[in-house]
């Protein structure tokens, strides 16, 4: 039971991390090509930039809430099933740390993009 829960949680944590990276990379790609989109005025480019940053910020907020839930779930599993085996705990901690780092990097990238605008 605990092993299934841990494997499922690892998958969900990785997915959240990948979601944060996807948002960050596709925002970067969008902003990089903004000036190459034909028939777009300066005002329209600024509007598009503002809209994309707003959309990605909302999505990253959702990913962050999900990540906080994952942290709580790790604690819940330990509370329900007793102390986790050392290997499983280390694996979950590593996945959580990787997800936190990716979300933090995406957030920092978003902030830089917003400041540039």
């Amino acid at each position: 039971m605990a092993e299934d829960s841990i494997a499922d949680l690892v998958r969900r944590i990785r997915r959240a991390a990948l979601d944060a990276r996807t948002l960050s990379v596709t925002l970067e790609s969008s902003l990089a090509t903004l000036h190459e989109i034909p028939s777009m005025s300066g005002d329209e480019r600024m509007d598009a930039r503002r809209r994309w940053i707003g959309e990605v910020r909302a999505d990253l907020d959702r990913v962050e809430r999900l990540s906080r839930k994952h942290h709580r779930l790790v604690e819940d599993i330990a509370a329900r099933c007793g102390p986790l085996p050392v290997e499983a705990k280390a694996r979950l901690d590593a996945e959580l740390a990787d997800a936190d780092a990716r979300i933090h990097a995406a957030r920092a990238h978003l902030q830089r993009a917003a400041n540039h605008g």
Binding site: T22, T33, A48
Partner: protein, 134 residues
């Protein structure tokens, strides 16, 4: 097969498609229809604007794939930050079974687009198995 002129986007799409959809992914910074046919892909993920000329190469490639009997039932996702162009392509995309995906996007958006393109591919295979090109 993924065609995009940004290396980071290619790496990301490879990671997602292999992890989430169990696909073997071939990356290309640019491609011709013969390159596509040589790989016989189940799915094409194309960026609308690729290459130094920034022409609508992704759309041309999607249309060429649909006309080519070797590729006519491949699933196609066309991505772009240029929402105005994507809007312009909405009707022909629907007629040609091309799924449009506007950037920036999240994991669920991509997952939905890929699933939709693969579902259309299955439909096309059933409707016209081995049908010759126009």
């Amino acid at each position: 097969m993924v065609v995009d002129d940004r290396a980071e986007a290619l790496e990301l799409l490879e990671e997602i498609l292999s992890l989430e959809h169990g696909m073997r992914v071939v990356q290309r910074l640019s491609a011709t229809v013969d390159d596509l046919a040589a790989e016989q892909p189940d799915l094409l993920v194309l960026d609308l604007w690729v290459g130094p000329a920034q022409r609508a190469n992704g759309w041309s490639l999607a249309c060429a794939a649909r006309r080519d009997p070797r590729l006519r039932d491949v699933g196609i996702v066309l991505t772009s930050a240029d929402r105005r162009s994507l809007d312009r392509f909405a009707d022909p995309a629907q007629r040609n079974d091309v799924v449009l995906l506007s950037k920036p996007f999240g994991l669920d958006d991509l997952h939905h687009a890929v699933s939709s393109a693969l579902a259309r591919r299955s439909h096309l295979s059933r409707v016209a198995p081995g049908a010759p090109g126009p």
